[in-house]
């Protein structure tokens, strides 16, 4: 370990404290609430009492959080992945200027970054195409829904990233007789990993945080997402803070675990960081 100079050490500690205060404390507070008895919380909301797990049992049994979490994960992961995959299919020919009008296509996609939510026509369209109130339709729509610019961002990031890949690699692949998709998969994907992962995370998180889509584009309660479920649950049990806190902990636990499990991938996403424009 390198010995740190004093001011540097102080600033490190300051930032560390800031992160703990801003990011750890709020989470710990809610965690504490989740383990409180309602009576204790009502009388002394600031201090921990004897921990109880009864809130968790009650929250789990009175809401369908499990099913809703599975839905949310499937919807956001699949449509996020498809956004990026389609983004790549556009970005490569555009970055390589392989067809006429490549810059027009780029601009066309770029506009997608700025589109605001257009849920009313989206709903009408979904009804017309038979994509309303079913999972496949929901996922398809979320690939490029206005206001959730995952695909547009993927195109922007990937075009920049692919532009920095030497053309010689393409040529070598043509000589080998590698197919286009195989080449994309074997060469371009590994090299553009950072852009792919940032794009995927962005698209996925946007879908994850969509609050109006689940209400307008879905009706079947079996397809409900956790954003809708938690909202209803909080309304149903509005003054039972400890119960809501328990539901919040249950609903976020899988995400946190997923995130810790993917920490290395996310970390590596930023390793090479070729977000050059």
């Amino acid at each position: 370990m390198i010995r740190l100079a004093r001011p540097r050490l102080l600033s490190n500690i300051a930032v560390g404290v800031l992160i703990v205060l801003l990011f750890l404390l709020p989470v710990l507070y809610v965690l504490m609430m989740a383990f409180e008895t309602p009576a204790h919380f009502l009388n002394s909301p600031m201090t921990p009492g004897t921990p109880t797990v009864s809130n968790f049992g009650q929250a789990w049994s009175s809401a369908n959080l499990g099913g809703e979490l599975v839905n949310t994960v499937i919807f956001s992961v699949v449509s996020g992945a498809l956004s990026v995959a389609f983004g790549l299919l556009i970005a490569f020919p555009v970055a390589r200027r392989l067809l006429r009008g490549h810059s027009m296509i780029y601009t066309y996609l770029f506009i997608g970054m700025f589109l605001p939510m257009s849920i009313i026509p989206m709903y009408a369209e979904a009804r017309m195409l038979g994509l309303w109130d079913n999972a496949v339709g929901y996922i398809l729509i979320h690939i490029a829904m206005p206001g959730l610019p995952g695909m547009a961002l993927a195109v922007v990031l990937l075009t920049a990233s692919i532009s920095s890949v030497p053309l010689e690699l393409d040529e070598a692949a043509w000589m080998e007789g590698s197919s286009y998709l195989a080449y994309l998969w074997r060469v371009i994907v590994p090299i553009s990993r950072p852009a792919l992962l940032i794009g995927f995370l962005y698209a996925m998180l946007n879908d994850w945080n969509d609050i109006i889509g689940p209400v307008v584009l879905l009706n079947n309660p079996a397809l409900a997402t956790v954003t809708k479920g938690i909202n209803s649950f909080a309304g149903d049990n509005s003054s039972q803070y400890t119960l809501i806190a328990a539901a919040v902990v249950i609903a976020s636990l899988p995400v946190v675990i997923l995130f810790i499990a993917c920490q290395r991938q996310i970390n590596e996403a930023s390793l090479a960081g070729s977000l050059k424009g």
Partner: protein, 450 residues
């Protein structure tokens, strides 16, 4: 590039991620496709009734019980209940979506049909008015169960001689008070404005929180606990034809009416006795809050919260009186509004089952079960109701000036959500002392389109 020796490992991991994503994708698409088929199969069947309503815990709980009893009485049928929160949009969206897609058989709402705008069109009508006047709902007038209901309940949903909705009952708004606290300080129920203020003052002098309400998340619309009552007590008695709503819609009276300006200045006085920061406390937490816990002497609320208050503190001895705005006790009336109303979609897949459900709902035993559990008063001609709400409301139970004759059904062109001139926002500004009653009235009248 960074450490080439790590490359193969990283590539393998990438492969794993990609494979996982691909598999999840494939599995979920297949699963979804199956679910989709199953779903349409079930909804196409003749024995699943789909009911859509908003989250109001006591009502949802009793509807679930009723559905179970209906299923028992009609073997082979099932009833599904789809709900969404009624604060700031989710239910309104679910309702629109259910009506437009025909994905429910029975939908519910509590927005009034009447009075209709003079020249009804797409922009000045509320969705309920649009649906009813455009024949989206089935006509109930030939159904035998309608005979059980009062003519005023039926006429509230009647358009061109056809009844499009079944009103389940009325809720009331006003003051709920803690009887134990009142007797401890030797207070009697106030019947005039000055008595009410002196009750508040006495409680405050003893260090008791006099009045409680919560406007967090919902914001100004629930200042209606005060302004509807102010209108009822001071303005309504002077309305031409005994119908203030119509008079306002037809510009026979103005929002700047001195009677109501007086009401607003009284609102401001009363607001002093509310707990601090009432605009930041989540509206949905009100029922289980300090009033139920015996820490506040009175609560401004609607009777729909009574079952939740009872659940939060079964021992609480509560009573009711309408907020008295007038100095004459006889002018101080309660405010009432038609509560949950059932509509059968005209193109419902299970229309006959929907009618059968409404018939079942209307039978005396089931109907009493519903009324007693929800805090509303009856819309049926007969029956005895002994629920918690009837005990708390006492002589006021089921008595009040109904919204249909008090207040217009505001549509977008009336600027309901209009920031510069939103009626409810203006009331809050007055209550918080940011605007004088005269300014508020003038501001709203200026933009009023009738």
């Amino acid at each position: 590039m960074i450490s080439d020796k790590r490359r193969p490992g990283r590539r393998r991991r990438l492969g794993t991620i990609a494979a996982t994503v691909a598999i999840t994708g494939a599995v979920s698409l297949t699963a979804a496709a199956c679910a989709g088929n199953g779903g349409t199969g079930a909804s196409g069947g003749g024995n699943t009734l789909k009911l859509t309503t908003w989250v109001n815990p006591p009502a949802v709980a009793v509807l679930k019980q009723i559905n179970a009893e209906f299923e028992k009485a009609n073997p082979g049928t099932s009833v599904t209940l789809n709900t969404a929160a009624n604060v700031n949009g989710p239910y309104q969206t679910l309702l629109q979506q259910s009506v437009n897609s025909g994905s429910a058989d029975i939908v519910t709402a509590n927005t009034p049909l009447l009075p209709l705008p003079k020249k009804l069109n797409n922009t000045n009508a509320t969705p309920i008015q649009l649906w009813e006047t455009n024949g989206q709902f089935a006509d109930l007038s030939g159904q035998s169960f309608t005979k059980d209901y009062t003519s005023s309940a039926l006429s509230a949903q009647t358009y061109q001689g056809k009844v499009y909705g079944l009103t389940s009952g009325e809720y009331q708004e006003g003051v709920f008070y803690n009887k134990a606290i009142f007797s401890k300080y030797h207070l009697s129920v106030p019947t005039t404005y000055s008595q009410f203020l002196s009750v508040c003052k006495t409680l405050k002098s003893h260090g008791v929180q006099p009045l409680y309400t919560a406007l967090g998340q919902v914001g100004s619309p629930y200042t209606q606990f005060l302004y509807y009552e102010a209108m009822t007590d001071l303005w309504y008695p002077k309305a031409p034809g005994g119908n203030l709503a119509n008079a306002i819609m037809n510009d026979q009276v103005k929002w700047t009416d001195p009677a109501f300006v007086k009401g607003m200045s009284e609102e401001k006085q009363i607001a002093q006795y509310l707990e601090p920061n009432y605009t930041g406390i989540n509206w949905q937490t009100m029922a289980g809050g300090p009033f139920a816990a015996g820490k506040a002497a009175m609560e401004l609320d609607g009777s729909w919260d009574l079952p939740s208050i009872q659940k939060a503190n079964p021992k609480l001895q509560a009573g009711y009186f309408p907020v008295p705005f007038s100095s004459s006790a006889s002018a101080n009336q309660a405010y009432a509004q038609n509560d949950l109303t059932f509509y059968v979609l005209k193109n419902a897949k299970n229309k006959s089952l929907a009618m059968k459900w409404l018939q079942f709902f209307s039978t005396p035993k089931i109907y009493a079960q519903y009324v007693n559990a929800t805090g509303i008063s009856s819309a049926q001609k007969s029956g005895t109701f002994t629920g918690y709400a009837s005990q708390v409301m006492g002589k006021w139970f089921g008595k009040g000036v109904n919204q249909t004759t008090l207040y217009p059904a505001l549509s977008p062109s009336n600027g309901y959500y209009d920031q510069q001139a939103n009626w409810a926002d203006l009331q809050l500004e007055v209550m918080q002392g940011k605007m004088s009653p005269q300014q508020a009235a003038a501001t709203y009248q200026k933009d009023w389109k009738g």
